[in-house]
Symmetry: C2
Subunit: 517 residues, 2 copies
Amino acid sequence: MTTGSFVRKVFSATHPFASPVLCQRCHIHQQVLAMASANRVLTLDNLNSNVVKMEYAVRGPLVIRALAIEKELSEGAKKSFSSVIRANIGDAHAMGQKPISFIRQVLACVSDPSLINDANYPSDVKQRAKLLLSGCGGHSVGSYSHSNGIEIIRKHVAEYITRRDGGIPSYPQQILLSGGASEAIRNVLKLFIDHDNTKRKTGVMIPIPQYPLYSATVVEFALGLVGYYLDESNNWSLNISELERAYKESLKEYDTRVLCVINPGNPTGQVLTKENVEQIIKFAYKNKLFLLADEVYQDNIYGEGLKFYSFKSVMKSMGKPFSELELCSFHSCSKGYMGECGLRGGYAELINIDPDVFVHLEKMTSAKLCSTVLGQCAMDCVVKPPALGEPSYDRWLKEKTTTLNSLKSRADAVCKAYDSIDGITCNSVQGAMYAFPRIHIPQKAVDKAKSMNQEADFFYAMQLLESSGICVVPGSGFGQKPGTYHFRTTILPQEDMMSDMLERFRKFHNKFMLEYS
Amino acid sequence: MTTGSFVRKVFSATHPFASPVLCQRCHIHQQVLAMASANRVLTLDNLNSNVVKMEYAVRGPLVIRALAIEKELSEGAKKSFSSVIRANIGDAHAMGQKPISFIRQVLACVSDPSLINDANYPSDVKQRAKLLLSGCGGHSVGSYSHSNGIEIIRKHVAEYITRRDGGIPSYPQQILLSGGASEAIRNVLKLFIDHDNTKRKTGVMIPIPQYPLYSATVVEFALGLVGYYLDESNNWSLNISELERAYKESLKEYDTRVLCVINPGNPTGQVLTKENVEQIIKFAYKNKLFLLADEVYQDNIYGEGLKFYSFKSVMKSMGKPFSELELCSFHSCSKGYMGECGLRGGYAELINIDPDVFVHLEKMTSAKLCSTVLGQCAMDCVVKPPALGEPSYDRWLKEKTTTLNSLKSRADAVCKAYDSIDGITCNSVQGAMYAFPRIHIPQKAVDKAKSMNQEADFFYAMQLLESSGICVVPGSGFGQKPGTYHFRTTILPQEDMMSDMLERFRKFHNKFMLEYS
């Protein structure tokens, strides 16, 4: 898709200024673009070219069209479906998951401290609220926190990591709280921007398929995108030989210095074995790479016998020289069993970072003042949930277990359902919140898409949306081996909606295959 | 101060790793830096050079030293003062200002919706909470919002602006909610980054003195910093002749395309007259400049007979061609009478922006998903407070009025007190939250500072902190005419602390002047 067409597609769905016309090419209601005034200072011609180039498919044209369809439905439009199913984004609460009560009660109390005297709240909620407020300037969540985050919360994060990693110590001084993991990932990648155009760009290795935050950020920051393919035929595993290939090839163009790993995988759902993590660490050491471990799905492990191994714990247990690798690990309150995306809580643990670098990172984040204090408080409840014996423990455990069990059963159901459909193959969802099925798109449909200047999977996904109301993200938004086509769907629709979605999907897919076979 | 010394200063106060040593030059406890491993991938040598260059004085070395002193005091250190007074940052709640109840009650209800059934909350709080939740996916603030922000809140923002500007319409489609104003300002400035090194950099005009977010961002983004001086002898007014001078001079080096104005001023507190705003708009039109209006202090006007004139209202009332200028105006829930800094709520109104540009801006922000939903909800309460006749109205009005009256009386008290001291002159604080007194530093002290490789006002402010516990920001962090010295202090300490602060200050200053005269 060209930039111009992207702009028009998006513009059409968001700007209510001009008269709607139907674009025959992309089947989106378009509007005549207002002529840009000749006097405008900032236009497409002189706009930051990397901003123009970057793409972020999770909220791309399909999602914008989905919103428009929702609006049409709400205005009484007749369609063969009565609702849009938003399976495009890992947004658990939007799909009906209920929040963890402990988190919300603490947030209510720190927002309105008069509730600390409310008889209805358990004592551990009140104690936590008091503790958090004692860490805030003027005992108010309305104060700026330290740019790194509130000290007591960073201490709790470090305790959590130490517990999680079987006693391998973590230090509050190496924790930075952030507005979701995204902000922290972007802040760390920003350190690698090089303004000296005479030198080769810093290469950043990212998995293909990948979560598009990485590709978008790498493009925005003018870094070099070095993709390494995950092995679909082996349940999206990460092969060292492929890392070696991608690294070697990248050196022709880039000074490759960063390796990003997403574990459990997004959109691919694989969970790395301990041995695999060890191999990756050895690879990073051998090639002098700075490791970014996106571990936001660490609580979302469904596969039998699988376990989450943090990069830090494996690295530290390997001893020197591997234990001295530079590593940033990211976590978030948006995923796991809590799914608190809108609260924007997250953290980064920075290990073995050059102290000089750390100071400049702190300075840089300080110019943005601080991340949301309420998001920080939510993160606190995630890393320090009610303990056994405390009044909120039973309720918390029940809510957590119910959600994780339900996610596990939906993960099973989704991949089995897709894998059973002719023309679709789907690896098992070992972890995270997504399935990434492969669609074997008939050549006739590929040609048709080409004639419309679309990727075949974009064409497929748009047809799926228009005729069934299911919104997924085409594989091209995450990257895939040339000639293969996929889509990412979340496993988040609740059981009822899930059956409905799979039913709608089956109907669409069979019709599509018939039409283009 | 050299980069190395900055790093060591900051490192000393934040990293607890190594043994403390006292630096004779900057009087900060330092620690021996851990030797950077020869194997490190990321070091000061290859770190993003703009991140190294950027400075942000509001949270710079003085503040870090202030935190260290607080820790020393809490550990029983004996000093001539018993507390640190943090007058360095506009952080109202940290200085004892109480939150607006309506905002906090709404936040509590949307966090824990069971409170909507609580008999203790007024009905308008509950209605607002219900309305906001109806705008959230799955009726939960834990869902991602649209990247531009929740639709109903953007509608309320547009209604607020329309009301504020006497009926000049504002449209929700032109509103972007953001994590405080800072994030929105950075997002807009990012659009001007140019990756073509063969062309001249885009110049961004910012006032001197300025809020250092601007200089930090301009440096980080490799834009061209074009300073225009405010006129201290005329209560920091903005002279068009100085704008002309700065613009013309800048063209030798830059392609100057952006003009930032802060009104009311930070750190200078001036409030622009309508005529002045008109002149600035004419200047921007004549020279084809994109206008950024930082209007976060629009509620903080203290001077007799002064009024806030938004750039938008003036521009629109001037008619064509001025009404077609590209303008972004920023607001925040961190300042005003609410002072909710930690909640990170803010918005930008984007007027006359090229629709293509707008779409790419939306796409770029979508890669960061969304700003904090609770921050958005707080912004909602700011732009749509309880209306006359609603149950929360009286309490809200009383809280607002009390806070604003108290700020006004502190603004008066602070500038009068400073201006009455020998060796200090201080303009009146017409608005915002700061005084920016000029210190007439004796040559002997200037020489002493020079011998320590410090700016004279940094030296003065560090002495002030060490001997009185008052933390202010040296004028060099904001910019000032060469050879003049200032500091920024907030007017936020509550009345008691304010008397204490002025008393401590007077004592220090007289001693300092005696010592160096």
